[in-house]
């Protein structure tokens, strides 16, 4: 047992993966605290907790969910740039299921009038939730097959869906933005149980991912495959199956994110939903310290990374920078992160903070 405790302490140091993103988040929040009055003010209204900080949390949910799936894919040494397009497809499917009149289905008179009703949905709601998730997972499966069996480079393979995906999404909705009147569905993105409901969804997805990767051997295999694919092969690990799983899960996460986003804006916009979100997700993962080459990953660190990105956006907004210019700020943040994570700076930091890193063990 003593061994276990000393290992635990050791693990904390090793898990310094969340160390850096946490520091970054702290810096940004500190900055907010100083510069923006009332940033952390929380008030309770009608049983709901409100405040700028809550806004940050809420807005970062889609990216957090995407980042969870993306972390696993990147950990195997791959990447998925089609999640935004997958989101578009999934949200189109969800909205069509609720409100299919748009595609020219000749409905009886009384049903057509029901569509605007806030409790009505053409398909039972549990299907409205389930089917998009299945479709999104299938998109992930498509990507996974191209990468593992087609042996196509992940960036190139997922590029296909990224290009064609939005077209497919528009195909589903006939290029019309469908408006959702159903309140229950909208609850996903808009509901509150003290905290925004979507936050609980993010926590739930995180819990699922954590269970899968840490309570089964899948997490270990992902890290092994990413760190050294050939040695993993010699050790008997089926790398193809592991990678396939990560892509399917990533697609699944995109599906969940799609439900959250489309329900919060109450519409399905094939052009805008998820636009450039894959970039945010990838950035969040890199922030979280997972290397683009694969290997060790930390889901928590990626989520914090997502928070950092969102906090940057929100803080910049609060400073008065026009909303659309925020991506310029994001770019600068990327640059800073890149410089900080680059080999040159890492080597420099290691020399200064030598005690934190493990020393070589000579025989």
């Amino acid at each position: 047992m003593k061994k276990f405790l000393s290992n635990f302490r050791f693990k904390k140091l090793v898990e310094s993966k969340i160390f850096f993103p946490l520091i970054a988040l702290a810096i940004i929040l500190l900055f907010d605290l100083i510069v923006i009055p009332g940033f952390f003010k929380l008030e309770m209204k009608q049983g709901h907790l409100y405040g700028s900080f809550i806004d940050v949390l809420r807005n970062s949910v889609p990216i957090m969910i995407l980042a969870i799936g993306m972390t696993l894919v990147i950990a195997t040494g791959g990447i998925d740039i089609s999640v935004g397009a997958t989101m578009a497809i999934a949200s189109s499917v969800a909205c069509i299921l609720i409100n299919p009149t748009i595609i020219g289905l000749k409905l009886s008179q009384d049903i057509s009038s029901l569509v605007g009703n806030s409790t009505y949905s053409f398909t039972p709601l549990w299907l409205v939730i389930l089917v998009p998730l299945i479709v999104a997972s299938l998109c992930g499966l498509w990507n996974g097959v191209l990468v593992t069996y087609g042996k196509i480079q992940p960036m190139v393979a997922t590029l296909i869906l990224m290009i064609a995906g939005r077209g497919i999404a528009q195909l589903i909705t006939n290029a019309i933005k469908i408006i959702i009147f159903n309140d229950t569905y909208a609850y996903i993105g808009n509901g509150w149980i003290i905290l925004p409901f979507s936050l609980y969804i993010a926590a739930f997805i995180f819990a699922i991912a954590w269970l899968i990767t840490r309570k089964t051997s899948i997490g270990l295999f992902i890290e092994a495959v990413g760190a050294n694919s050939r040695s993993s092969f010699f050790a008997g690990i089926n790398a193809k199956r592991v990678k396939l799983f990560t892509y399917v899960f990533c697609g699944f996460c995109a599906g969940v994110a799609a439900l959250v986003v489309s329900s919060s804006i109450r519409t399905s916009d094939a052009n805008q939903i998820g636009l450039y979100m894959e970039l945010d997700a990838i950035l969040a993962v890199i922030f979280g310290g997972t290397s683009m080459d694969g290997g060790r990953f930390s889901l928590l660190a990626s989520m914090i990374g997502a928070l950092v990105i969102q906090a940057t956006s929100t803080s910049t907004l609060a400073l008065g920078v026009p909303a659309s210019a925020i991506i310029a700020v994001k770019a600068l943040v990327v640059v800073i992160v890149i410089i900080l994570y680059s080999q040159q700076v890492q080597g420099f930091l290691r020399k200064i903070f030598g005690t934190n890193k493990q020393k070589e063990v000579k025989e």
Binding site: A227, N228, S232, G295, Q358, V361, K362
Partner: protein, 505 residues
């Protein structure tokens, strides 16, 4: 002519160490003008490190290098090239997507009126290749040419763009046909006659005798000696490369004869006519529980290939493998693990350790792979297993959470061994398990192998160190040139083995 005007390169007392590995321990080497000098030694002998030092990839910890009598410090590969030292590796360092002519002249293309003059360039390239007695269409894409032509292109480039004094050929003949090898040798002789010094690294001893003037033998980082080829018989050469040295292991012979009792008569595994085209010719082999079978032979004789066939890394093209009387159908690593076969691979870095993971994770990896995704070993159990093997194999580390990449080579090897022992194999295949490990640890591992055999495990022990093979094996299989030559058992002497390896000369 005095020594100094004849020699191009003089390396004195070169020492180079990496973490935990003494790659070169005071090696002397010199190369003369107009000489083909063979550099031989088994893996881990230090050949590649010596070449890396000479070509500027690595810097020696101490020692001097002189070029044409002048002491130099070779800073980088480009610097080495500018000094006239040109390596040609097995994986040719050229661009296969460009044409032969471009590969020879890129960076120095002839220009006319501000644009590349392709016609002149192609003509120059053609001339360069003709200088090597190769008549070929130089506008062919390099990637579509045979390895032989690619090597020739590399040589041509070396000659054209720098006043090449030294040419280093690292295992150039491994992928060449007999005819291509003869062609290469013709070129080498021509260059030699023009005054170039050529270092020829190879494990094909016949070729060494065919072409070289002098031979330098390295072993375990030390220089064994430099000899004139004509005055060194092959058997003596082999002895110098892998023969017996004075050790403290003689008590092991008793251990071996004791353990010989446990050998079962029924074969655990039977290989009949198993072969893989291009790597090993069909052979028969029987493996018994409680027996250690050693595979002896020079590098490239097919030892690793047999190991990979047994473990399912490669599928056999012919023959059948039976285990426990049943024919084996699936040849993949995971199937082998499920059959309780384990392979400790030769290339520790690329096929063994997962450097970024911890010791614990590396040790339980194969075991976990055989359990699948959902039967995850509880953390406590993982630590128990890790601790058990850390103790058993005497792995030197403060904790099982150390990253494997921070361990010395010897300890890394032990981690891999632990991984496979943890799977409780019935057949354990060890490919060069003691390479890069110090004497003490070597002895530990050899004793361990014998005690495992005593407990009923079947072992295949592959090593370039003949003494090791002799010490630990109950039966020895001799391989030569991708063929199984013979089996020896009982009281085998080194002489017998080396004679078999050398073949009829």
């Amino acid at each position: 002519m005095s020594e100094s005007t004849k020699s191009i390169i003089v390396m004195k007392d070169i020492v180079k160490s990496f973490p935990g590995v003494h790659a070169l321990q005071g090696v002397d080497f010199s190369l003369n003008k107009g000489e083909i000098h063979a550099l031989v030694g088994e893996n881990g002998a230090g050949k590649s490190t010596l070449v890396k030092v000479l070509t500027g990839v690595e810097h020696p910890d101490s020692g001097t290098i002189s070029l044409d009598g002048v002491e130099v410090s070779i800073k980088s590969p480009l610097h080495a090239q500018s000094l006239g030292i040109n390596p040609v590796y097995q994986e040719v360092n050229l661009c296969p997507n460009l044409t032969i002519s471009e590969n020879i002249l890129i960076g120095r293309q002839p220009m006319k009126w501000g644009r590349i003059d392709w016609n002149t360039m192609n003509a120059q390239a053609k001339k360069a290749m003709l200088g090597l007695d190769i008549d070929i269409d130089v506008t062919k894409v390099l990637g579509s040419c045979s390895v032989a032509i690619q090597q020739m292109t590399a040589i041509a480039r070396a000659l054209v763009i720098s006043s090449a004094k030294v040419l280093i050929l690292d295992e150039p003949t491994s992928s060449l046909t007999q005819h291509e090898t003869a062609q290469l040798f013709g070129v080498m002789r021509k260059l030699k006659n023009e005054g170039m010094g050529i270092i020829f690294i190879t494990h094909f001893l016949d070729q060494v005798y065919d072409i070289s003037d002098q031979i330098t033998v390295l072993r375990n980082g030390k220089l064994v000696g430099t000899y004139k080829t004509a005055s060194l018989p092959k058997l003596e050469l082999i002895t110098k490369m892998i023969g017996r040295t004075i050790t403290e292991f003689d008590d092991m012979t008793k251990l071996k004869s004791d353990s010989g009792h446990m050998i079962k008569s029924e074969p655990l595994i039977e290989l009949e006519g198993i072969g893989h085209s291009g790597s090993i010719e069909p052979f028969d082999l029987q493996l018994h529980s409680g027996e250690v079978v050693g595979l002896a032979g020079l590098l490239g004789s097919g030892r690793t290939e047999i190991a990979e066939l047994l473990f399912g890394i490669t599928k056999p093209d012919s023959g059948t493998m039976t285990m426990d009387g049943k024919v084996v159908k699936n040849f993949t690593p995971i199937d082998s693990i499920e059959r309780a076969i384990a392979l400790c691979p030769e290339d520790r870095k690329k096929e063994g350790i997962v450097a970024d993971l911890t010791i614990r994770e590396n040790i339980i990896l194969a075991m976990q792979a055989s359990l699948g995704w959902f039967k995850y070993l509880r953390l406590q159990e993982q630590y128990t297993i890790a601790d058990k093997y850390i103790k058993l194999l005497n792995i030197s580390t403060p904790s099982p959470d150390q990253l494997v990449k921070n361990l010395s080579g010897g300890n890394q090897q032990k981690v891999i061994l632990a991984r496979w022992l943890a799977t409780n194999p019935r057949l354990l295949i060890l490919d060069e398990p003691t390479r890069g490990i110090d004497i003490g640890a070597k002895a530990e591992i050899q004793k361990l192998v014998l005690s495992l055999a005593e407990e009923g495990m079947s072992c295949v022990f592959i090593s370039s160190e003949l003494e090791e093979v002799l010490r630990t094996s109950h039966r020895i299989v001799i391989l030569r040139d991708h063929k199984k030559v013979t089996e020896l058992s009982g009281d085998v002497t080194e002489q017998q083995i080396m004679k078999s390896i050398a073949g009829s000369e």
